[in-house]
Symmetry: C2
Subunit: 446 residues, 2 copies
């Protein structure tokens, strides 16, 4: 059964009030699929559909949706039922959801929730969303280091309703400090009366609550973990970050890099409205428009040269374009590389030297090529002007694409400023100045 057939079937069941049949179908589905179904259903069926779901199913569904649809569901359910659903949600997702609401609404919902959960969520909301604290959940089970395996299994049983995506128990001492981790596997392979402290892994790797999410993702990726515990400055266990959240971070960071490189604006996907997408892109475009006019005013500074030799215009788009292209290439390598490298002096020197080498090789190759073409076409002086400026502009372009993002990163300026189009437009300006300066210098020979 494909998605469209499923939607038709569910609408049929909803119209005919076949609650049992519908529940049977839903039970077979994964949360992601239920969310897809919900989005495919016409809006008028949404409320009835929600009525047929259990609070746990709604909690699973809501975690897969965008925040506007989440808030719509909360309104439909009302405070009382919403708070039941919220009690069952992953607390990191819930904190993200609540952060979209007004202060009064947040208070209303939190007051209706179980106090234990609501306190945790309130704490979560105080952490910056792009840190370990913002990613972590309290859906984990801790045990004391003096437990036996039997005690741990008993505790696990009392948390049996908890999310299935847990693979470790975290071991704390009397001061609530994290002292070890034990996997279900180790417990299965142990004697039931063995002490947890004898089978646990005690060189446990944890992350501080304020660590940047990109570094959390890097750590999980390097060590192939499925979860990592989060601790405060006293090594007290606060929560865990799971690998599924890390995949989302990796995708989000990659998208941010692409947004930077293309200046395409934040969070534009296939479903964004044309007006929203335009307003997110326009600020950049208007800035670039004015920078583009600077290129024009540089040309007007060389008006005398240009009026004497209109043929110079022919090579203008090629030279400006090529400089922009090499700049973009270097920029892409730097932006992507920053993800997995620390920027120490050695790395910077090595990278800048390498890109200088690239600029030289590329400049000489392309410059020689165009010099030959210009020689055959227009003679030796043009060959010198065009070839010479292309070598120089390609080296400048490569260096600008390398050094500008590194400088911005170094001084903690939002690297979004170093977007591809900006580098391209700046390189336009550099290349025109070089090209027309060369041409003016050789003007008397043309």
């Amino acid at each position: 059964m494909n998605a469209d057939q499923l939607t038709v079937l569910i609408i049929k069941y909803l119209k005919e009030n076949k609650k049992g049949a519908l529940e049977k179908v839903i039970d077979e589905l994964q949360p992601y699929d239920i969310a897809q179904l919900y989005q495919n259903l016409p809006g008028k069926h949404h409320f009835k559909f929600l009525l047929y779901l259990s609070p746990q199913q709604i909690a699973d569904l809501i975690q897969e949706l965008d925040s506007d649809l989440q808030i719509e569901i909360l309104h439909r359910l009302g405070i009382e039922k919403s708070s039941k659903v919220m009690d069952l949600m992953e607390n990191d997702d819930l904190a993200d959801l609540l952060s979209e609401l007004s202060v009064e609404k947040i208070q209303e919902y939190l007051a209706a929730m179980k106090s234990e959960d609501s306190t945790y969520v309130q704490n979560l909301m105080t952490y910056s969303p792009e840190t370990a604290g913002g990613l972590m959940t309290n859906q984990f089970v801790w045990i004391k280091n003096d437990y036996t395996v039997r005690d741990a299994v008993d505790k696990l049983k009392s948390f049996a309703e908890m999310n299935h995506t847990i693979y470790y128990l975290y071991v704390i001492n009397d001061n609530k400090e994290l002292v070890g981790v034990v996997s279900y596997r180790d417990m299965l392979l142990s004697n039931i009366d063995e002490k947890i402290s004898d089978i646990m892994f005690n060189r446990v790797i944890s992350v501080p609550v304020d660590l940047d999410q990109e570094e959390v993702a890097q750590l999980i990726q390097r060590y192939d973990f499925v979860a990592v515990p989060v601790v405060d400055e006293k090594n007290k266990l606060l929560g865990i970050v799971t690998v599924d959240d890390v995949i989302d971070v990796v995708i989000q960071e990659a998208n941010e890099d692409i947004e930077k490189l293309s200046a395409s604006g934040k969070d534009i996907d296939f479903n964004t409205k044309a007006t929203t997408a335009s307003f997110r892109r326009l600020p950049w475009l208007i800035l670039l428009l004015f920078i583009g006019l600077i290129s024009g005013s540089i040309i007007s500074g060389f008006e005398d040269t240009l009026e004497q030799v209109v043929a110079l215009v022919f090579f203008m788009p090629m030279i400006a374009g090529m400089t922009g292209n090499t700049g973009t290439q270097s920029l892409a390598v730097v932006v992507r590389g920053l993800i997995s490298h620390d920027l120490d002096r050695k790395t910077v020197v090595k990278l800048v030297t390498r890109e200088l080498g690239v600029g030289l090789i590329i400049g000489i190759t392309c410059g020689a090529l165009i010099a030959i073409i210009a020689y055959v076409w227009l003679g030796p002086i043009y060959s010198l002007i065009v070839g010479g400026s292309l070598i120089l502009t390609l080296i400048i372009g490569t260096m600008a694409g390398t050094i500008i993002p590194l400088l911005l990163y170094r001084f903690n300026i939002d690297p979004a400023v170093a977007s591809g189009p900006l580098i391209t437009t700046l390189n336009d300006i550099f290349s025109l100045i070089v090209y027309f300066s060369f041409a003016t210098a050789f003007l008397s020979y043309l």
Copy 2:
């Protein structure tokens, strides 16, 4: 202790032949950290360092390294010790490593390995590397559906040396068909004499062996799995793909998108040599150089217009640049969106309509702005020419950035062809034709 201090300490132990002390330090490290240490050690210490590691530690280390370093280690160890290490490696990583070697070398190593492992690896090597088959490992444990929990635990004990990153047992019937999955957690919470078939989850989601790796990654990400079983067309269990491999796929795919958008060439990181990086970028640049010359020849077609009104050149860089910028923005949205959307007719129509809307809004806004500037600066005719062509070129630019990658994707042409610089350069040509045609039409009024 930071990385540099660690390296110094290890060199000291190696020089003083302190095997025990070195082993104690190494035992505390994760595979990723051992690999970092290995790379930090001067080459002359590599062989001795390897001598002090156990085959399991070498297997862990080797999996974290690039293929040239992997092959170096194999040469150092010799066939016999290498084959021992290979027996302990994840088979998907091993298949990747072997695929870098000559046919004779592969045969030599495989002959020295345990026959069971070597057969599996040979099979793995027949699958395309970017599919489920290329990603999967045989580091999983299967059990029969008539086992009890006790039988399963016993089987697990005999695989105790196996990789710790396993969280499920996979259940097969007498025909070796995958019929269910059971987590360690479910086993812990069950009675030891319970039947596996009573506690297993039987609506198990699996992937076919030839599924594209991007779709495998999407599935694991959507469902928040830590592993997914891989089956053949008869539903026989062949292996599993784990979430850590999926993170690598997500990063690889994001890098490929950025390479496409920037035409920066495949696999260039901070460690790539200048010559290699140059040779990977040059083919694109040379192509773009010739396309750039087309822009020039278009201008030369309008030489008469240009000689009469040199002022037209002032707006050229701005118009060409802006058209390129909008094209890049649209391209980025399309390339990134293709990751999470299927391209049905509805999606395509919706996307193209949206981008047309964006083109209109952006075109009219920027066109009006530049028309006002040109009016104040140069008068009404320039205002009309510059404003009018900018509106038209921005719409064309947006559409080119949207439709070209969609068409390429549709006809299964490598979308790398639709790289950002190519779209930018094509848009240069479109925009110059529009601009000079407008200017020529209004020439008599200038």
